[in-house]
Symmetry: C2
């Protein structure tokens, strides 16, 4: 089928928008795209069981190299038979490179050509993460898709810094490719950087996609920039990415961004938004966010989201969920988290249906009307 362990199958292009419907195949099954990947930072999608994540319809989850390296240690995961077996997840797994976390912990002087020095957030011990180390850890974890070790520039970054950074990211990608040991079973994706500069995005896209890799990602956006900048960066980057390979937009998960990304030809997304919001007792709906902790739900005996058919909305009155949240009961967080992940997975199902129907533009327009109440 493909020379890569992970590959993209194209199904349909939306005549109205050019968005693409497809399927990504991995050693642990396939999933339809555009797809949202729930995040299981520490080898657990917070509050959920793997069965719950699967029954909601997720085919792939994301986990974090940095966190698993520090705790329990990638060697323990390897000895357990890899991340899938360790956490009892039968679907596909993508791991990030750890870059995002260590850059947020490191001081500028600690970033060198070799890698990044930083202090563990758990016990303060000094550690060094390099492209080679990131590959070694991800090889230990055994995830289906592994990400190149890159620098995600903060927003805003100066043009000069962003340029030097993207060039280092390209050199680091070479080192990742050289040290990645499981090319037959784990697909390495390269990451396009370039901060908020169109010229730099073009340079990075050219450099990164020149490598023979099974997939590519857009990194360094959705980092606090205004939405128009976010959109223009996707606009200028996606057309430079190969059509026959999965395209992954990192760290994106709000409903509007998922639709905008899909509309522009992105296949994969991830974000902690649904789990984090769930833990704060807030849920996503077609009409915006609802804060279930609020007093107004105290005697609301209907579902949290009357338009939703998820396990939480089918079985529990909003007043019950509010009670659990106020009483600090774990199950309240479970119900909100369940709803939020389900909501985003269903949203992607609706996006895929709209692509199949050549009407993603209409879908977006209607969704925005409802979501922003205009």
């Amino acid at each position: 089928m493909s020379k890569y362990p992970v590959y993209y199958e194209h199904i349909h292009t939306c005549k109205q928008t050019g968005a693409r419907l497809g399927r990504v195949h991995t050693p642990h099954g396939s999933f339809m795209t555009p797809a949202f990947m729930p995040v299981g930072t520490q080898a657990s999608v917070k509050g959920m069981s793997p069965e719950e994540v699967a029954e909601m319809g997720a085919g792939i989850i994301l986990s974090n190299t940095y966190h698993l390296w520090l705790r329990p240690g990638s060697e323990i995961v390897r000895k357990a038979g890899g991340l899938h077996k360790f956490m009892n997840w039968k679907g596909s797994v993508l791991t990030d490179s750890g870059g995002f976390q260590v850059f947020s912990l490191a001081k500028p002087k600690d970033i060198t050509e070799e890698g990044v020095k930083f202090s563990s957030h758990i016990d303060g011990r000094k550690l060094l993460l390099t492209p080679e180390k990131s590959m070694e850890i991800q090889n230990d974890l055994g995830s289906d898709i592994i990400m190149a070790f890159d620098e995600c520039c903060p927003y805003p970054s100066e043009h000069g810094y962003a340029k030097r950074s993207l060039e280092r990211t390209t050199r680091w990608l070479e080192r990742c490719i050289d040290s990645h040991k499981n090319k037959d079973s784990q697909a390495l994706f390269g990451i396009i950087q370039g901060s908020m500069y169109e010229d730099l995005r073009k340079i990075s896209a050219e450099q990164i996609t020149s490598f023979d890799l099974p997939g590519f990602a857009i990194g360094g956006i959705s980092v606090g920039e205004p939405k128009n900048l976010f959109l223009s960066m996707i606009d200028c980057t996606v057309p430079l990415m190969p059509e026959d390979k999965p395209r992954y937009l990192m760290g994106v998960g709000s409903p509007d961004y998922l639709i905008e990304g899909s509309l522009r030809g992105v296949d994969m997304f991830d974000c902690v938004l649904p789990t984090r919001m769930g833990r704060h007792g807030t849920i996503l709906t077609d009409h915006g966010k609802r804060i279930i902790r609020d007093k107004c739900f105290a005697e609301d005996f209907g579902p949290m989201d009357p338009e939703c058919d998820c396990y939480a909305c089918r079985n529990y009155p909003a007043a019950y969920v509010r009670h659990l949240l106020k009483a600090n009961e774990m199950f309240g967080l479970r119900l909100c988290t369940y709803h939020n992940i389900y909501y985003l997975l269903k949203l992607m199902e609706r996006v895929r249906q709209a692509i199949a129907d050549d009407s993603l533009g209409d879908f977006k327009e209607n969704f925005y009307k409802s979501y922003y109440g205009s």
Copy 2:
């Protein structure tokens, strides 16, 4: 079948011990006895979904009048259609009277013939709980079995105090009976007190069982007394309880106490032990407790309890659960809690089988050998 909404069906008496196997029928289904009731203090068995509690085999759960009165308020539960509907639990529910909690919050001068004055643990407001109020709340909650408002004496208590207290408990029971509104759908159980005094237990048993009630409970033991005292109090009380009605031993849930109680003819038990231990990362096994957070499980890739076939033990290596606990992941608490409740429910299944086989004495002996490693 019976003039009561809840009634006891006798199936078999163990020839070796006299322990009894039976079935308790309630408006929300039946459950085999001796039975352990998981505790859902605030209308949620901590960390678990109702489906999980049911799939483990629980037919009845306990919930707390005091907690639900304060939050969300019993009126809200009533408006939601009662506790079953509010929390989506299809099985039976027993609620305590709130007495245990308010007595632990009240000062001696606040305990009067009328009831107990105390300050809410949530916002400090002054409240008064009386037999009538407890019935009103439990009528609102709609539980299948409701408990009389009683005083559970602390251990140790003086003979004089314990006697005055048990007599007040009897007078309060009369007021409970008079004010209980749903006699057709909710079964009121009386509670035998008498602290650690055999003569007082007899007086209380005589007084309490003289009322025409569907079931009776033993209260005020397992409150910190030594085990021999615990056993002698059950020994002297159970024979005074009617044979044709359920007998409930309140607040008991350690494996050895469950076996000892069953052996002496008790039908129902409840305890927060399995959920509380689970939240601390400790599990119950036939060989005693195992602290899964401990270092020794860091590279243990077998199940937490190799003799257990619960969801947690079937699917997750101990090393994974330990990782989750160390990383403060909610799912770790879920897995330990799941195992503990399952363990106690299975233990009761084994106890019931041993009664059916006329060998509960042998079962106890073997269990103690394994549990205490002797």
